[in-house]
Amino acid sequence: MSNSALQLAKQAILVPTGLQESSIHRVMDQLFNGAVDSGDIYFQSSHYESWVLEDGIIKEGSHNIEQGAGVRALSGEKTGFAYSDKIDLSELLSAVKNVQAIARQGQTAKVALPAHTHVPQLYAPINPLSSLSDQQKVDFLRKIDSETRKLDARIEQVIISLVGVQDHILIANPGDSLAGDVRPLVRMNVSVIVEDKGRREQGSMGGGAREDYHYFLEQDRALGYGQEAVRQALINLDAVPAPAGSMTVVLGSGWPGILLHEAIGHGLEGDFNRKGTSAFSGRVGERVASALCTVVDDGTLQGRRGSLSIDDEGTTTQCTTLIENGVLKGYMQDKLNARLMGVQSTGNGRRESYAHTPMPRMTNTYMLPGESDPEEILQSVKNGLYAKNFSGGQVDITSGKFVFSASEAYLIENGKITRPVKGATLIGNGPEVLTRVSMVGNDLALDSGVGTCGKEGQSVPVGVGQPTLKIDALTVGGTNV
């Protein structure tokens, strides 16, 4: 653990509220007075701001503060949880009383965890909100707006948003000193509407990272978002109806890795597998993908949107191999599900905030590169679809059926990309789809830092990535039957 992150988190959370560390120990002792197996207290203080430019003017901005503490008691498979927006001793003690009700039949088994040794810090404990002055922020948005508008006469509307977050976290675990983290996160998005001969289309591009706002100034990233949004919108102006039915699909590199997130990732989260409700339950060691496929969930990438130095239970994150050369290797775990399945947490215990309970969640999920040249992959397809960009996706982890929606796609005819087609939803079966991967590109790319994953009403930032992939058969939901 970086001392400076822990010290800064203590300063941000304990100093303003006047809560002493000794009081936290007292609350923890009180919590373990009842018959509970485990438990934790999660303190959070979060500052968030957003700026929106629309119609060429800074339309609005907002500044938001969220802070509070969540207390959790675990007993067998049971969880008691309570939280408060006030961080003080009496609130914490009353939360403890509430959560202990869960533990009536439980047994005390206080587990001493290994003390935190050195935890690599994956991002600086900085405050993105103060990395530019407010005047610099609005000047920057105006500049990107005017430069984007210059790109094409058919642009009707440009909307730009800029969001910065600084999260301070403290986690009290039994038998361990406090863990802490300071998490910066920035996100920017440019969306445009273009109009030509009465036809209108939209395009949208953004990015983000656990950095400060200078990230968007470097390498002309922000202007790049504008260019990409305009390019997508203009292409869609010419799109023809998409085909319908099962066909060969080539997925582009980067953000199309949302395929892995939906088709594979959710089904490999520990809670579903402990309960036996996932289409992947009990299948470790089985072949679930072609031998070309190796998929990992990696929370340790420097500065990425989905990365965490420690997860929301204080566990150091890691790179977990989910599928190796086509064989299912393991699941993503938080502490509760790891304990019940007799394994170690993989550092995937995440929660939206102090007001939510942790569960196994993805961090950055991606497929390792293969050997094929992307051009060679396209050339190998006689007739099919090349899907380059996607919007969102969804999965039913029990049946394994998943969807993801293409926002930029082209027909492939005789090995060549020909016409753009309208957006269409692709649907498949998680345990089957990767068995149909017949070529994997050498062009692994991660997404630009835009992913947000929803599970049981909780949203967390994530990353995805993949090289160009060829899937021999996938159902494309166009209108052209």
């Binding site: 939209q202 409700t277 029990t398 049946s399 998943f402 269409a424 649907i427 079966n429 159902t475 039957v481």
Partner: protein, 443 residues
């Protein structure tokens, strides 16, 4: 009454808060405050799994310096924090641009009389009783059929909240509301394939909830019906949206006629006021003052009074859904829709779901949709679906791993019927909707 006292106290807080922006030089302001408490329990495989006690609060302030706007929010309601929140909003407003359309509503649009809409019926439910209820709900699901093989459990939730909103034109009002629900989700297994489905009941008064047993049985029935699902070959066919998924068709329409989408030109229904969107027999209207209903409200998110609007009559669009800001951008007047609609209802025919299946003859009954797949600018529509293949008006077999696609403009024009099997569980109250033809993609 304890709740009434708390509302009065919070109204005073907002009243006092609204003096602060003026001290800091703002010309106008509004502020809202909410406090929610709740209990949520989940039982799985016959035993309690989670007990969650909820207690959250929040404050939001928007200030105007003439035509410049800034907002701030906080979960800390201490006097010191309130002052800091106002300061943060003011500081942001100084950097916003002059926007000739920004500002509070015209004073005459604000609600003057706020009726008691009968929204608050607290449920004095001890955690132990909530657990027993959840266990009995799940038990009736698990006992329903031998193919029910596993469970995600049953949940019982109860929430009560207080909302207070005021602005510097003198509007100030607070009210309490409650919301309770029972839900259940179970798995079935046949021939090595698992399926999962769920059911829930939600109401402001716990006496209006479906019984725990009934919720469990419906969840089990829905799961069992899905077992043995197969894909379809690609084809064009009629599609019947069951009531619980038909509201998505209506909400895409509502978003296309909302002021924000219109002035941004990000709607497939631009310039359609007074034109025919639907067939003659479609009427959409709002009943914002229905006592005890889930979507009822006397005023919108800006304090503008809500009205019993006729949004679509004889298939013709009568009214957009406008907030003060979007109305000014479009040169119109607010319709009291800041924050959305309130109890949007659809005029139904006289047919129930079974009769609609007969009317359809051969086609697809959709009971679940997956993914977003709607382009709001063009109306192009393509979503994952599951449901049942229907022939001669009878359900033949469950289907999944298919998509349904079309364009919403065409789909609206080709609605053949709306069923009287209304789903009352949300803010949009619709029955099943039969569409003449869509593209189905499958294996």
């Amino acid at each position: 009454m304890q709740t009434q006292e708390e509302i009065s106290h919070l109204e005073t807080t907002i009243h006092d808060l609204l003096l602060e922006p003026k001290n800091q030089g703002a010309s106008a302001a509004d502020a809202g405050l909410s406090i929610d408490t709740g209990l949520s329990v989940n039982a799985r495989l016959g035993d309690v799994e989670t007990i969650e006690h909820h207690c959250s609060q929040g404050l939001g302030v928007t200030v105007y310096f003439a035509q410049k706007k800034g907002s701030a929010s906080s979960t800390d309601l201490s006097p010191q924090s309130i002052k800091e929140t106002v300061t943060a909003a003011c500081s942001i407003a100084r950097y916003a641009s002059e926007d000739p359309y920004a500002g509070l509503p015209e004073p005459e649009m604000l609600a003057t009389e706020c009726k008691d809409l009968d929204l608050s019926h607290p449920w004095e439910l001890a955690a132990k009783d909530a657990i027993d209820l959840a266990i009995s709900c799940e038990e009736s699901a698990r006992q329903y059929h031998t193919d029910i093989s596993n469970s995600e459990g049953a949940s019982v939730d109860t929430y009560q909240g207080i909302r207070v909103f005021g602005n510097s034109l003198g509007f100030l009002h607070g009210y309490a509301s409650t919301r309770h629900s029972i839900s259940c989700s179970v798995l079935g297994e046949r021939d090595g394939n698992m399926e999962r489905d769920y059911w829930y009941s939600v109401a402001r008064k716990h006496q209006d909830l479906e019984s725990a047993e009934r919720v469990g049985i419906k969840a089990a029935q829905r799961t069992i019906q899905r077992l043995g699902a197969r894909s379809l070959s690609s084809r064009k066919s009629p599609v019947l949206y069951s009531a619980e998924v038909a509201n998505g068709l209506i909400s895409s329409f509502l978003s296309a006629i909302s002021g924000g989408s219109l002035y941004r030109k990000s709607s497939f229904l631009l310039d359609t006021l007074g034109t025919k969107i639907f067939p003659d027999f479609i009427h959409l209207y709002e009943q914002p003052h229905l006592p005890g209903a889930l979507g009822s409200a006397s005023y919108d998110a800006e304090g503008v009074s809500t009205q019993a609007n006729k949004i679509v009559t004889d298939g013709i669009l009568n009214s957009y859904l406008l907030s003060t800001y979007s109305a000014r951008k479009l040169g119109m007047q607010t319709t009291g829709h800041a924050g959305g609609v309130h109890n949007l209802c659809i005029g139904t025919g006289d047919k129930n779901l079974g009769q609609l299946l007969k009317k359809m003859g051969t086609g697809l009954l959709v009971t679940e949709l997956m993914g977003q797949g709607v382009n709001p600018v063009t109306g192009d529509y393509s979503r994952g679906a599951s449901g049942f293949w229907v022939a001669q008006g009878e359900i033949q077999y469950p289907v999944q791993e298919i998509t349904i696609a079309g364009n919403l403009k065409d789909m609206y024009q080709h609605i053949l019927a709306v069923g009287n099997d209304i789903d009352y569980r949300g803010n949009i109250r619709t029955g099943s909707i039969l569409i003449e033809e869509m593209a189905i993609a499958g294996e």
